[in-house]
Amino acid sequence: MILEEFKLEGNVAILAGCGHSWLKDLGLALAQAGAAVVSAGPEQRQIESGIGEIRKLGRKAMAIQTDLTSSREIQKMMDDTLSQFGRIDILVNHLNLEFGKPFLEVTEGEWKRVIDTNLTAVFLCSQAVGKHMVAQKAGKIVSIVSGGAERGLPNGTAYCASMGGVVQLTRALALEWARTNVRINAVGVGWMENSFAGKKDDSVAHYIPMRRRARPEDIAPLMIFLASNASSYLSGQVYFADGGLMARA
């Protein structure tokens, strides 16, 4: 028996993604829970990858190629979504440009690209979609972040700063919009399968208490929970679905 509160029937979700992200699986999960899905991002093949399967489920889906660091393009994506689906209830951000380099060698251009892709895109999408949600007096924003949001990683200064920035944006915006019925939360993923090209190296998997890296189905239910009415008293939170990674000594 499934509690009604978890269902996303009638919701329209925008899934914004770039880099090493799980757009296809997360889109499918949102659709399985009942939502119509708009997949937005710069990489055509990535945003289109789950659309067919979602339509096979009988849900509406659309891919809109969008530079998520451009407020103009995001606005156009918003307009297209509204003209097609009439409303926006959920925004999921999964911006995950991976980058590792010794700090002294990081160029200004690399720093800006990582911050723009992983953090500024969340700012721009949340501002554009959030404006609509505040006006509609309802909405849920869920950002997917890495363990680098809370912990450090050598050669990961830019990456960790971008992820930590998303968490702080989440907390501050949640407080600012506490009484608007627009909720903002984050899902922490531990080590994603294949992240930082890590499949060959199992030392990371061994470090995780559950001894394996995260797969999309490990975090998708938490995203659904935070995007649904089941979490109506929750905002400004970061919850990890990480096989015990954040808990370990």
């Binding site: 028996m1 499934i2 509690l3 509160e5 978890f6 269902k7 699986d25 499918l28 999960a29 399985q32 829970a33 009942g34 907390r171 949640a174 407080l175 600012e176 506490a178 009484r179 995780i208 208490p209 559950m210 001894r211 995260a214 797969r215 999309p216 189905e217 490990d218 975090i219 998708a220 239910p221 938490l222 659904i224 929970f225 089941a230 979490s231 109506s232 008293y233 929750l234 905002s235 400004g236 939170q237 919850y239 990890f240 679905a241 990480d242 096989g243 015990g244 954040m246 808990a247 370990r248 000594a249």
Partner: protein
């Protein structure tokens, strides 16, 4: 999605058996109701028989099986008896919710008219300290210990411990309560890491200000919820689905996490409503 099953099915508790301590009132009762609606059979335990009998009757009305076992969680023999009785009755225990003790120390209850109220630390004598640690922390330890071998043998289990925002941020004067609840968080993390490879997930919920106490004897003045950023107290409907998520297959990769449920009360560092407008110079 790999695995084939539709994602919403993962949130079902069909065929599961849950033990909920402190299940006669407040949070525990709300969790029993939500679990039953999600398909679980319930073993509800607390010191006084009447409230847990009532909860069990309500669960049966929802259409699930339920038994009530009067238990004082600060007595390890009674806790062992609770676990044995539950397994004997239902042949399985999949979920343990350690919720007992949360009411005491934070507000008076009908059965405990002399709660441990905040006050100067020199008025907190040895017995009061030990008593509050026993109820809020040791009881959780006893329950986890009593079910550990059973869950490890089956290589399957879900444990949900009830902490509090008081275990994360310092509530003025609540020395015992906050120390015990912080202990619950660290017990949770340690169990989670220790049992990660046994397929047992251990998580905790840290509620802030939830208003689901139905007792008339609460005696506390009505508080205006305006001090909470969301502007309202949490309700039964807020805790139920979170507990169901943490008890279900949907959270199988989630362990050692503390789920704060407080209307954003602990996320900030300024009074509620303090929102300075302060432009950049030169712009």
């Amino acid at each position: 999605m790999r695995g084939g099953r539709m994602i919403l099915e993962k949130f079902s508790l069909e065929g599961k058996v849950a033990i909920v301590t402190g299940g006669g009132t407040g949070l525990g009762k709300a969790i029993c109701h939500a679990f039953a609606r999600a398909g679980a059979d319930i073993v509800t335990a607390a010191r006084r028989p009447e409230p847990i009998n009532e909860t069990a009757a309500e669960v049966r009305k929802i259409g699930r099986r339920a038994i009530a076992i009067p238990t004082d969680v600060t007595d390890s023999r009674q806790v062992d008896h609770l676990m044995e009785s539950a397994i004997r009755e239902f042949n399985t225990v999949d979920i343990l919710v350690n919720n007992a003790g949360i009411a005491r120390g934070i507000e008076p209850s009908p059965w405990d008219p002399t709660p441990i109220l905040p006050g100067p630390i020199w008025e907190l004598d040895d017995d009061k300290w030990r008593n509050a640690i026993d109820i809020n922390l040791t009881g959780t330890f006893y329950c986890c210990r009593a079910i550990a071998k059973y869950m490890i043998e089956r290589r399957s289990g879900k444990v949900i411990n009830m902490s509090s925002v008081g275990g994360i941020r310092g509530p003025k004067g609540w020395f015992t309560y906050s120390s015990a609840k912080a202990g619950v968080i660290m017990l949770t993390k340690t169990l989670a890491v220790t049992w990660a490879r046994e397929n047992i997930q251990v998580n905790c919920i840290a509620p802030g200000f939830l208003k689901i106490w139905e007792g008339k004897a609460s005696g506390l003045p009505e508080r205006n919820p305006d001090f909470i950023p969301m502007g309202r107290f949490g309700e039964a409907k807020d805790i139920g689905p979170l507990a169901v998520y943490l008890a279900s297959e949907a959270s199988d990769y989630v362990t050692g996490e503390c789920f704060v449920l407080d209307g954003i009360a602990s996320a900030g560092y300024a009074p509620t409503g303090y929102a300075p407008i302060f432009p950049l110079e030169g712009s």
